[in-house]
Subunit: 191 residues, 2 copies
């Protein structure tokens, strides 16, 4: 562990946002899962969430850029438990969902604790997940195609959250509690 | 061709932006190419560009959502010819490139004619392409991973362009010249 490396780990931990996350509902293509975790890392997500009904361990693609080492992934048995977990921790859950009731994704305040729920490649957000979410958000589309790739949709929303959080200074000082900070630094430094 | 379908084709053509595009330099994974075209369609790109040094016809992934039917893709033999083509048509070329000189992507005015140049999955933007581009833009990253997935980077920049163009009314009335509009409507309606 060089001093430069240690400094870099601290710089990244100083910017981690414990109150910003994603919940992937049955996103199953490894390249999508990897791209989402890579984006999550870039905007400072500390821990991501997934619902994986097969109960299997998600696999990562060789193009993840190593993000699975830096963003914890908590796998929940079903969407009810996943959303309950997030709500207990104070998150508002926004389903990225092409529904009638959806708000424009740019209208939401992501400086408050926010979880972005993403649906499966083929089927989208399940009816049960949409029912559990606090609100739906949609990215306006002006073309012929009906939906965006799921990792693209995740990124567009998460970088809007990054923009808002940059503007309100949320990356300017450490946001993790001291215990989590020290424990994570130790895990990252001595894996 | 139902009247609804015809109306939908016109609605989409009414929003096409002839002065916003992407140039993909050796982006070769079909799922990335498809995701980028799907995003391009959603923000109103009329024609996208690619440099494909193998000279082969790019292949599309089954997850393109059919975008290759709605966004024309012009393949150039090399990056010099691609950039020359764009500059002759008045585009400013922004290389999405993690360089020292890069501007924050949010600082650029994409309501002016803009082409976003994207680099290959492994190697990024080539030195020659970076030399030809008018400026580099970078998406700020606060994590451990060095770069985003290329289709994610494309989307984050293109949806910033969409935001700016929505705000300045560029989607409010048709932007294609009448001849291109009629020709395209005909091609789309009677393929
Ligand atoms: C390929 S889409 C699923 C398409 C599915 N046929 C549907 O209608 O929901 C996969 C996921 O990406 C996200 N997504 C795609 N396009 C979106 C958009 N324009 N706005 C919000 N979320 C979007 C949603 O979470 C969606 O469940
Ligand atoms: C996976 S990256 C290439 C990584 C390559 N090792 C490099 O250093 O450029 C593929 C392409 O995505 C785009 N890209 C990825 N992350 C970006 C970022 N943070 N800002 C701007 N463009 C980015 C660039 O066009 C890049 O060439």
């Amino acid at each position: 562990m060089t001093p430069e490396r240690y400094r870099r780990l601290r710089d990244v931990l100083d910017k981690r946002q414990p109150d910003l996350t994603v919940l992937m509902e049955n996103v199953h293509k490894p390249h999508n899962l990897s791209a989402i975790l890579r984006t999550a890392d870039a905007v400072g997500v500390y821990e991501a969430h997934a619902v994986n009904p097969t109960g299997g361990v998600p696999t990562f693609h060789d193009t993840s850029g190593g993000s699975e080492k830096w963003v914890y992934l908590r796998v929940h048995p079903n969407v009810d438990e996943a959303v309950a977990h997030l709500k207990e921790r104070g998150f508002t859950v926004y389903a990225a969902n092409l529904s009638e009731r959806a708000l424009d994704y740019r209208e939401v305040d992501y400086t408050l604790p926010s979880a972005v729920l993403l649906g499966a490649e083929k089927w989208g957000v399940s009816p049960r997940a949409a029912e559990l979410a606090d609100a739906d958000v949609v990215i306006p589309m002006m073309g012929m195609v009906q939906s965006l790739n799921v990792s693209v949709a995740a990124a567009v929303i998460l970088f809007e959250a990054q923009r808002q959080r940059l503007a309100s200074g949320l990356y300017d000082r450490p946001r993790l509690d001291p215990l989590t900070y020290r424990r994570t630094l130790f895990e990252w430094a001595y894996p």
